[in-house]
Structure formats: structure tokens, C-alpha cells
């Protein structure tokens, strides 16, 4: 009989292996962070965007020169399918850095729930500093209890970019394009496609990822409503008359073949596959040598004046993470990195808009020297952020699924689809 020794040997090997696995697991678990007054060296993560690395490098070099006992070490956010997944994993592993200068507002409620973020309001003068810098727009970044678990940092207010050469070739006025109302926009789109200058008038990504609605529905809904968020006071807002108007506008573009339903592999605007695009100020430097472009605010049903038009912010903020040992230093660095001087550097080096009140009057020389950014600087004062609610990503996925079904692929009634999504989202927001 050999069964018993065999089993015993297997158990012995399993136990030994399990011990090693558990030991390795124990080694990998990290500890908590330090207190709000602790000081010393810190690590920060930056986006892998070339211009943001340039800004980050000059920022930490300036800090390090003045603070030999509190040095900053910087690195790019480790590669992953998205920054949010990498940050979420780092929080769980306990090895998140002190500051991440690329924290998406949509992920903040989840990071907060994970216990990964520090409440910036808990620092002395923290709330005051944020509100003095960002003004009324700061309110969008508070959680339900009025706390700030993110520092509003920079926005990329989206606008309609259009290809002037294509407009001219289609016999349209390229300097004063007729794109203010839905009717004007649709008429222009029909002319562009019918003339054959581009296969698509505009081509937002028709895919199902939760964030894609930030670049089709959201900017137009913000403009149509004069600044409403997708969810307000715990309830979905988008299934109202304004939401239906925006959804029907996009549905018309898809239904008439003015916007394609297939994913384009590449940059449709740069490649001439679309005559228009919805982009932020980052596009100025990207397209300056590739496309003869112009920019206008997103359309509304009645043609809201540019100076009153809202849009989606596409903001990225800064999170201070609970794994940080020297949170006192991290808070000081955060204030240094969002100072008037460093915000000016951010504007200069990246062309992205610091989330700072009265941006155009604080940096008049920059906008005078860079008129291409002036529209975006002005637009930055009227931006709408993703709602800071529980299950934020699930909320956006529910909306995207409904939008994809009824608007992009034309299945079912649009109003019913929006109502169903609103009911689902209300339940998600209520489920803390």
C-alpha cells in the first residue's frame, strides 16, 4: 500500500510551497503612510506625455534646489492599459507614490473608497488654498461630504476643431463656419460628406469604453444645459429635454452616415478621414503642422454665444496618496507645483489649462503671444466635470451602453434608452 506515503509527501510539498507563497505574499504587503506633519524625501509620478515630463522635471528640480532635506524623486506612471488601473493596483499593494500628477477625476471616488487618498481639506488651510486657486469650479471636485480628495490641476476644455482646407474645398466659409446650432452643424456636415472632401464629417470613437461619452455626448450636454453634470444631487439629469436633443443630434449624424460607426485605426482628423474633431488644447501643437485648422465651441440647439458656452473639462488632477510617508512635504510640494509660477510654466510648456480662476487675466502675456490658445483659455472658465459620485466608472459605463445602443446603432427608442440608463445610474449612485 503506497497511497498514504504518497499523500503525505504531496501534503508535505504543498505545505512547504504554501509557506513560501505566504511568505512572499507577506513580504509584498506594504504599510500605511505617515502623518500630515512628517517630512522627508518623496516620490511623484508623472504622465508619460513628453511635455508634462518637461514641466515635471523643471518643477522638481526647482523644488530640490531649495529643499535639500526634502528631495523629490520622479518617475513616469508605470505602463498599463490605463493609468487608473495602475494607480488602483499601487494603492492595493501599498506602494503608491506620494503624489500623482495625472489622477482622473472619474477614478477619485474609487481611490477614496479604497482608502488610497488623503483628504486635502485635512491640511491646515487646505480647503481655502484649493478654493482660492480654482474659484467656484472647485466645488465640482468635492465629494458628497464637501471634502477634497483631489487637487484640481489642469483641464483640456474640448472644442470643435475643423479642417479649413476641407471646408473651402466643399464651398463652405472656412473663417466663419456655420456650426453654432444643430441645424447649421448638420447642414455643414451634409455638405462636407456630399462634396466628397472627407468620408466623415466628424468621427468620435464609436466604441464601448466608459470614457468615450466624454468626447461626444458630454460636451454638447454641458453646452445645451448651461453647465449641468450627468448626475446632480444624486440623480441622473440627462434623460431630460436637453439630453434628448443632444442624443437625437448625434443619432442623426450616425443615421445619415455623416459619422462612421466603425473604429478608425489612427487619427481620423490628421489623416483626412474626418473634417472635424472634438479635441482639447493639446491638439494645437499636435495639428499645427499637419492640418490648417480652426476651432469653434461645441454646438447647441439654439446656438449659444461662445462666451456662454460650456463644455467638458477633460481635467487631470493631483492625488496625495495615503501610502506616503512624508505627507507634510507632499502637501508643500503640491502647493508649490500649483503656484502661480508653476501654473505659468505648465501653460507655457504643455499648452494645457491650469484649473485656476481667471486664467486669461492671470497670464495675459501668454495668451497675447499664443493666440491659438486664447479660445481655450476663455473656454476653461466654463467647464463641466464628471460627477464625483459613488460607482463613477459603472455610471459612465451604464450611460455608454445605452447611448451606444440607441444613438450609435439606432436600436430602440432614444428616450426610453435614456430613461432606463437614468434609472440604473440612480441605483448605482445610491449604492454607496
Amino acid at each position: 500500500m503506497y497511497t498514504t506515503p504518497t499523500i503525505r509527501r504531496a501534503l508535505a510539498a504543498t505545505a512547504a510551497s504554501a509557506a513560501v507563497v505566504l511568505a512572499l505574499g507577506a513580504c509584498s504587503s506594504g504599510g500605511g503612510g505617515g502623518g500630515a506633519d512628517s517630512r522627508g524625501d518623496i516620490t511623484i509620478w508623472l504622465s508619460n506625455n513628453e511635455t508634462e515630463i518637461a514641466w515635471g522635471t523643471q518643477m522638481f528640480e526647482a523644488w530640490n534646489a531649495e529643499n535639500p532635506d526634502e528631495q523629490i524623486t520622479s518617475q513616469e506612471i508605470p505602463a498599463g492599459s490605463s493609468s487608473e488601473e495602475v494607480i488602483g493596483a499601487a494603492i492595493t499593494a501599498g506602494n503608491a507614490p506620494c503624489l500623482i500628477f495625472n489622477t482622473a477625476p472619474v477614478a477619485v471616488p474609487q481611490f477614496e473608497k479604497q482608502g488610497g487618498l488623503v483628504d486635502l481639506s485635512s491640511f491646515e488651510g487646505g480647503e481655502q488654498y484649493i478654493e482660492d486657486r480654482t474659484g467656484d469650479a472647485a466645488e465640482q471636485y468635492q465629494n458628497a461630504d464637501g471634502e477634497y480628495f483631489q487637487m484640481p490641476w489642469k483641464s483640456n476644455p474640448v472644442m470643435i476643431f475643423y479642417n479649413k482646407d476641407m471646408f473651402t474645398a466643399a464651398g463652405l466659409d472656412a473663417e466663419n463656419p456655420s456650426l453654432a446650432t444643430y441645424d447649421e452643424f448638420l447642414a455643414t456636415a451634409r455638405t462636407l460628406v456630399a462634396s466628397g472632401v472627407a468620408p466623415n464629417a466628424i468621427l468620435p470613437a464609436p466604441t464601448s469604453e466608459f470614457f468615450q461619452s466624454w468626447f461626444d455626448f458630454s460636451p454638447l450636454y454641458a453646452a445645451e444645459t448651461g453647465g449641468d453634470q450627468l448626475v446632480e444631487d444624486g440623480e441622473a439629469t440627462f434623460n431630460d429635454e436637453d439630453g434628448l436633443a443632444v442624443a437625437e443630434f448625434w443619432a442623426t449624424l450616425y443615421d445619415e452616415g455623416l459619422s462612421g460607426k466603425e473604429t478608425y485605426q489612427g487619427d481620423s482628423f490628421a489623416d483626412g478621414e474626418a473634417a472635424m474633431s472634438i479635441v482639447g488644447p493639446w491638439a494645437v501643437s499636435v495639428y499645427q503642422d499637419a492640418v490648417n485648422w480652426g476651432a469653434v465651441p461645441v454646438p447647441t440647439s439654439e446656438g449659444t454665444p461662445a462666451a456662454e458656452t460650456y463644455t467638458f473639462s477633460d481635467a487631470k488632477n493631483v492625488g496625495l496618496f495615503s501610502a506616503c510617508e512624508n505627507q507634510g512635504t507632499a502637501w508643500d510640494v503640491l502647493k508649490f507645483a500649483t503656484s502661480e509660477e508653476q501654473d505659468g510654466q505648465l501653460l507655457e510648456l504643455t499648452g494645457q489649462m491650469p484649473l485656476r480662476d481667471d486664467l486669461t487675466t492671470v497670464y495675459p502675456e501668454y495668451f497675447a503671444a499664443n493666440p491659438a490658445y486664447e479660445q481655450f483659455g476663455d473656454q476653461a472658465a466654463r467647464t463641466v466635470e464628471v460627477p464625483n459620485v459613488a460607482n463613477s466608472v459603472a455610471v459612465w459605463q451604464a450611460f455608454r451602453d445605452a447611448y451606444s445602443k440607441s444613438v450609435i446603432f439606432g436600436e430602440g427608442d432614444i428616450q426610453t434608452s435614456l430613461d432606463d440608463a437614468a434609472a440604473e445610474i440612480d441605483a448605482l449612485v445610491a449604492d454607496e
Binding site: 508535505a12 488602483g88 459605463q397
Partner: protein
């Protein structure tokens, strides 16, 4: 071969200390076996299996019965036992039900196509004299090429203005393949079949080397043609490989993720190509509900085990 023999110690002659040593040695031998070095050599793989497969599976089952989310070390988090709540939520979610239906369609197309094509092509390759190496490499290249790279080629082939539609002309489906609710999943199934074929052809080629040439000669003597030999000799001869191919293609098919994620833009159109694993990624990683994702995973494992059992019973023959 060498034989090492050891004379037994004379009864009653061993000192007490030596007897104690023998007892320790016996205990050690009982625990570790005659060849402890074997345990040492197998330990790395055992650790790998425990850490990468067994432990996550056990943990996933545990998660699926608790309210669970990933939290920072030291965070005060309540993770109560919730019984079957996560399973109730999953089974009441039409998106989840649809994803299982989608992967069912995928398996119905992919698995039989994989078995038939790989067996036929392996048999042909086994007989081929000219270009044998070239053909073998040709079939294997898609398998070792990253999905991300070949997805780009298929997007070019199957887009509205792509090569396939240009060849088909008026016969091309409208809307095109990857944005057509009826055709999206079959197109993905075709893609995966093509991509994985090289690996399964290799399995069959290896199995074909074990089919005795004498059987073919005997069949020929009895008047069997090539087709009859294929059905009467080849197919029964590679039955163990067929069971393996069935199991592997079912398991890899049930884990479908990359193709709907990339080829149809996140499970489109309108969820027609969403797979359970894609939903697990959305719910568990993107939306921060790993408990719900774990419940989907547990159901998927159970489903795959049931299918695998049926396949083994039906196709395994004496091997089962």
C-alpha cells in the same frame, strides 16, 4: 543501470543513538519519499501552480461570497459574508446573461472548426513532401504573433471599406462585419480559429506520428481509399489528441478577452461581442467590484467544467 544494496544491521547490535537516527531517517523518508531531490525539483512548478492558479481560484471563490473590494493596506474595511448575493446580482444582469450567450455562440463555431481544420490540415501536412517546413511555419506564425498586431490586419480586412467587402461587393453584410450584431461574434470566432490553428495542428502532427503505418497498409489492402482510411484509421488513431484539442480550445475560448476588447471596441456593437471575461475586467478592475467579477468567474469555471466533462464523455471513448 547500477544497483546499490545495503546490508541490514544485525539485530540488537545498533546503539541507541543509531536507532534514534534510523527512526528520524524513516520519518524523513516517509514524509519526503525515497527521492527527496524529486520534490525539490518539482517544487518550483508546484509553487507556480499554487501561487498563480490554485490560490487565486480559492480566493476568487471566497470573494464571490463576500462584499469585497481592493483596499489599501491598513484601511479599515468591512467585508461581510453575503451568501449568494453576488451570484443573484450576476444572474439577474442581462449583460452577464448575454455575455454567456455570446461566448456560447463563439464556442459553437470555434471549437468544431478548430478540431476539423487542424486535423485535416495536419493530415495534409503530414503527407506533404514539398514546402512542408514552409507550410508548418506559415500556419504557426499567427499563433506566436501578438493579438494586438494581427487585430490591426483583421480590422483592415473586415472594415466597411476593407478587402473582404471589396471582394464580396453587393454580398457584403450591411452594416459591416465587426459592427453587425449578427456577424461580430462569428467574425471573432473565425479570427481566433485562424490564430490558434498553428498550435492545434502541431498537436495533431505529433499525434499522427504515433499512428502505425501498418494500419494504413492494412486498410489499403482491404480496399480502403484515402478518405476511408482517414475516417477509419486517422480519426480513431488521434482520438486522445482530439480530446486534448477539444478541451484546450474550449478553455481558451471561454477565456475570450483580447479580441472583443480590441477587434470590436470593447464588446460592441451594443454588447453583441461582450464575453464574460471582458465583463469581469470591466466590473472587477475598471468599476472596482471584484466580488461581482469573481461570481462571474466562478460561474464560468463551472460552465467550462461541465462542457469539458461532456466532451470527455462523448469524444474520449476508451480514453475516458
Amino acid at each position: 543501470m547500477s544497483l546499490v544494496t545495503k546490508a541490514p544491521p544485525a539485530a540488537g547490535s545498533a546503539p541507541a543513538g543509531a536507532r534514534g537516527g534510523h527512526q528520524k531517517g524513516d520519518r524523513r523518508r516517509r514524509a519526503l519519499g525515497k527521492n527527496p531531490i524529486g520534490l525539490l525539483l518539482s517544487a518550483p512548478y508546484l509553487i507556480f501552480v499554487l501561487a498563480v492558479f490554485a490560490w487565486p481560484l480559492v480566493f476568487a471563490v471566497w470573494m464571490s461570497f463576500h462584499e469585497y473590494f481592493f483596499a489599501a493596506p491598513g484601511a479599515q474595511v468591512d467585508r461581510p459574508f453575503v451568501g449568494f448575493d453576488n451570484f443573484r446580482e450576476v444572474l439577474g444582469d442581462p449583460d452577464v446573461i448575454r455575455s454567456f450567450g455570446n461566448v456560447g455562440i463563439f464556442l459553437i463555431i470555434n471549437v468544431p472548426l478548430t478540431v476539423v481544420l487542424s486535423l485535416v490540415l495536419a493530415s495534409a501536412l503530414n503527407k506533404a513532401v514539398r514546402f512542408r517546413t514552409f507550410l508548418r511555419v506559415g500556419y504557426f506564425v499567427p499563433y506566436i504573433t501578438a493579438s494586438v498586431a494581427v487585430v490591426g490586419v483583421w480590422l483592415f480586412l473586415f472594415s466597411g471599406a476593407g478587402l473582404v467587402n471589396q471582394i464580396l461587393g453587393p454580398l457584403a453584410p450591411e452594416p459591416s462585419w465587426l459592427i453587425n450584431s449578427q456577424w461580430a461574434m462569428p467574425t471573432i470566432a473565425l479570427f481566433v480559429t485562424w490564430k490558434q490553428l498553428g498550435f492545434f495542428i502541431l498537436l495533431y502532427l505529433a499525434a499522427l506520428q504515433n499512428v502505425s503505418q501498418e494500419l494504413y497498409e492494412a486498410a489499403a489492402t482491404d480496399g480502403a481509399g484515402k478518405v476511408q482510411s482517414f475516417f477509419s484509421v486517422t480519426i480513431p488513431g488521434v482520438r486522445p489528441a482530439t480530446v486534448l484539442v477539444l478541451l484546450l480550445s474550449t478553455v481558451t475560448g471561454a477565456n475570450l478577452f483580447t479580441e472583443p476588447y480590441l477587434l470590436t471596441g470593447g464588446g460592441g456593437p451594443n454588447g453583441a461581442s461582450t464575453s464574460p471575461v471582458l465583463l469581469m475586467y470591466q466590473r472587477g478592475i475598471e468599476q472596482g467590484s471584484p466580488d461581482v467579477a469573481a461570481a462571474i468567474g466562478v460561474l464560468l469555471v463551472i460552465g467550462v467544467l461541465i462542457i469539458a466533462f461532456i466532451q470527455r464523455q462523448v469524444a474520449g471513448g476508451d480514453e475516458s
